[in-house]
């Protein structure tokens, strides 16, 4: 098997869900990929990066290897087994040696740490004797992990044919203390669990954070003023402010794709409806009406539509309506109830939590409700959020009892579930866009 075949297989795998829409021939291809029978992760050789500080070069290479391994699309080879232990970006590799070792993809890197981090990386196709990626990066010394993430994204993009997602962050709810009275704080970390920062004190109950499209702001639910209301938090300054005071309470906030509007639920007298407020305005527009519970609004990436959950038909189900309200169409028709819809950043899928037969499931469906696929089924799994490339989902699992929730990721074919390490219990993950 040569690299081109493997690379094409990888690209095909990533394109699988797009192919679904094109007909039965494509469906057969998808079937193979979903069942994993023909899917082969790509072996890749990543020697330690050359550096005046060898331990630093090894650390950077490790971050890259771990990113690619966790994606499920690559198998980084044991660095001790490679023909060269340390990368060399100055010269062309001896391809015959690598081909003899059955290594098709090779990453050679160098990194130096001074006042700035300087890094160069070259990705080689050893079968074709071809350079696939050649780039140099510079960043400030504190952000050294970002260099490794940016390099990981470049490798992923070149070999998998999709934009990457490694240079991104996740905001979540950190949970500590007894279950009956948990302290819940907002925390933010890199997508791989590193660089955790706590951004609220835990004095008041906070839930359901979401990033603005620039990742500079969060919107979330805060009990600080008694009845829960929607808040905004500026990440650079740490300033928090209440969006307003609406009804008995307001909750379930999400930014619009242009970042100028927040959609959320307002509860009054037991009825819950969806509203949208342009930031800076005082009077939100009411998008749904009636005695039912309408919540969990999520905009389509073009901003024209909103998917939400409603129990207007009895139990919670998913509906899609115009972003200005009206024309709601039910899209979920499987057994049980559906909750927490999240539109993928590519627009091609909607992720959800489904409750059926005493189990919780994480699944995806097309925006018209077709192509439903369950990715994870367990005692309690909840709250999907999309990686910026729309190919990986993060969510939380809760084993119940005195234990607490933990973050997991899974790809959209239901493969490669991984726990994301956090130092406390963690719930409500929300993935940022790629950083800029």
């Amino acid at each position: 098997m040569n690299l081109l075949t493997r690379r094409n297989a990888l690209k095909l795998g990533l394109a699988g869900s797009a192919l679904l829409a094109t007909g039965s021939q494509a469906l057969a291809q998808l079937q193979i990929i979903v069942e994993g029978a023909n899917f082969q992760p790509l072996p890749i050789a990543i020697p330690d990066f050359a550096s005046a500080d060898p331990a630093f070069g090894a650390e950077i290479a490790d971050i890259v290897r771990n990113n690619l391994r966790r994606s499920g699309l690559f198998v980084p080879l044991d660095p001790a087994s490679l023909p060269s232990r340390v990368g060399d970006v100055q010269s062309t590799p001896d391809f015959a040696t690598y081909r003899a070792a059955n290594i098709d993809a090779l990453v050679m890197g160098q990194v130096e740490r001074g006042a700035q981090i300087q890094s160069s990386v070259r990705v080689w196709d050893t079968q074709q004797a071809l350079q696939v990626v050649g780039r140099s990066y510079g960043t400030d010394a504190q952000a050294y992990r970002r260099v490794a993430h940016i390099i990981s994204d470049a490798i992923y993009e070149a070999l998998a044919g999709e934009t990457g997602y490694f240079d991104s962050r996740v905001v979540y709810v950190s949970e500590t203390g007894p279950k009956a009275n948990r302290t819940k704080r907002l925390a933010i970390m890199d997508q791989d669990g590193a660089n955790v920062q706590y951004i609220t004190s835990g004095r008041s109950l906070v839930l359901t954070p979401r990033f603005s499209p620039t990742s500079q702001q969060l919107t979330y639910l805060n009990y600080e003023s008694g009845n829960p209301q929607v808040y905004l938090l500026d990440l650079a300054s740490g300033n928090q402010q209440r969006l307003g005071s609406f009804g008995q309470m307001s909750f379930a906030p999400r930014f619009s794709p242009d970042g100028r509007t927040v959609a959320f639920s307002v509860e009054q007298g037991g009825s819950t409806n969806i509203y949208a407020l342009p930031i800076g305005a005082s009077q939100p527009a009411q998008l749904t009406s009636g005695a039912a519970i309408d919540t969990g609004p999520s905009y389509s990436p073009d901003g024209s539509r909103i998917v939400f959950e409603s129990d207007r038909g009895g139990n919670p189900q998913l509906y899609v309506m115009s972003a200005s309200g009206g024309g709601a169409q039910r899209i979920s028709y499987g057994q049980g109830s559906y909750s927490t819809p999240v539109w993928s950043p590519k627009g091609d899928n909607i992720a959800f939590t489904r409750m059926s037969g005493g189990q919780f499931q994480i699944g995806i469906m097309k925006p018209d409700g077709s192509g439903e696929r369950v990715l994870v089924s367990s005692f309690h799994a909840e709250g999907p959020t999309w990686a910026p490339n729309g190919r990986v989902i993060m969510f939380f699992r809760d084993p119940g009892g005195d234990a607490g929730p933990q973050l997991h990721s899974v790809d959209i074919w239901g493969r490669n579930e991984q726990r994301i390490p956090t130092e406390s219990f963690a719930s409500d993950p929300a993935w940022s866009p790629l950083r800029t």
Partner: protein
């Protein structure tokens, strides 16, 4: 086989005791501050009397905010007491069990609280004495993995203050 029967009988008894202890343990969570005032009905008109003799909470079926006959009995007693002791302000807390998603449960807790508020008002309690708040599934009192536990968490609690 026959010789095993007493052992099974013993084990069954043991299991029953363990179950009772477990339920008692998880229905008395100190952090919630309710149900911990010990025996005795409390002085007439006291918060303890409301808690012990009247009953401060009602329970709901899964995914429901309808008042059961038992819940209506409790609320009738609450209304009579609250109408007699008009010096208290009243907070109705709505709660859901953990077998639902977070945001929906916040809305469900609010709907349950609202049903209780409306019922008490229909029984003559002045609406301006009452406020309500939903905690969704964030403040369980019973913590274990079975149905008897979850049912204790689907509740509305009347706090007199």
């Amino acid at each position: 086989m026959r010789s095993l029967t007493p052992i099974f009988g013993f084990l069954r008894g043991l299991a029953l005791i363990v179950l009772v202890v477990a339920v008692a343990a998880c229905s008395r969570t100190p952090a919630t501050g309710v149900g911990n005032l010990g025996p005795g009905g409390g002085a007439p008109g006291s918060q303890q009397e409301f808690l012990v003799s009247v009953g401060d909470r009602v329970f709901f079926e899964t995914d429901s905010s309808s008042l059961t006959a038992t819940a209506q009995d409790t609320l009738n007693k609450q209304a009579a007491w609250l109408n007699q002791y008009t010096n208290y302000r009243i907070l109705i807390e709505g709660h859901a069990d953990e077998r639902g998603t977070r945001e929906y449960n916040i809305a469900l807790g609010a709907r349950r609280a609202s049903v209780v508020v409306n019922y008490l008002v229909s029984r003559g309690v002045q609406a301006n004495r009452i406020t309500s708040q939903s905690f969704g599934k964030e403040r369980p009192v019973a913590i274990c993995n079975d149905i008897s536990c979850w049912s204790q968490n689907r509740r509305a609690v009347t706090v007199v203050q």
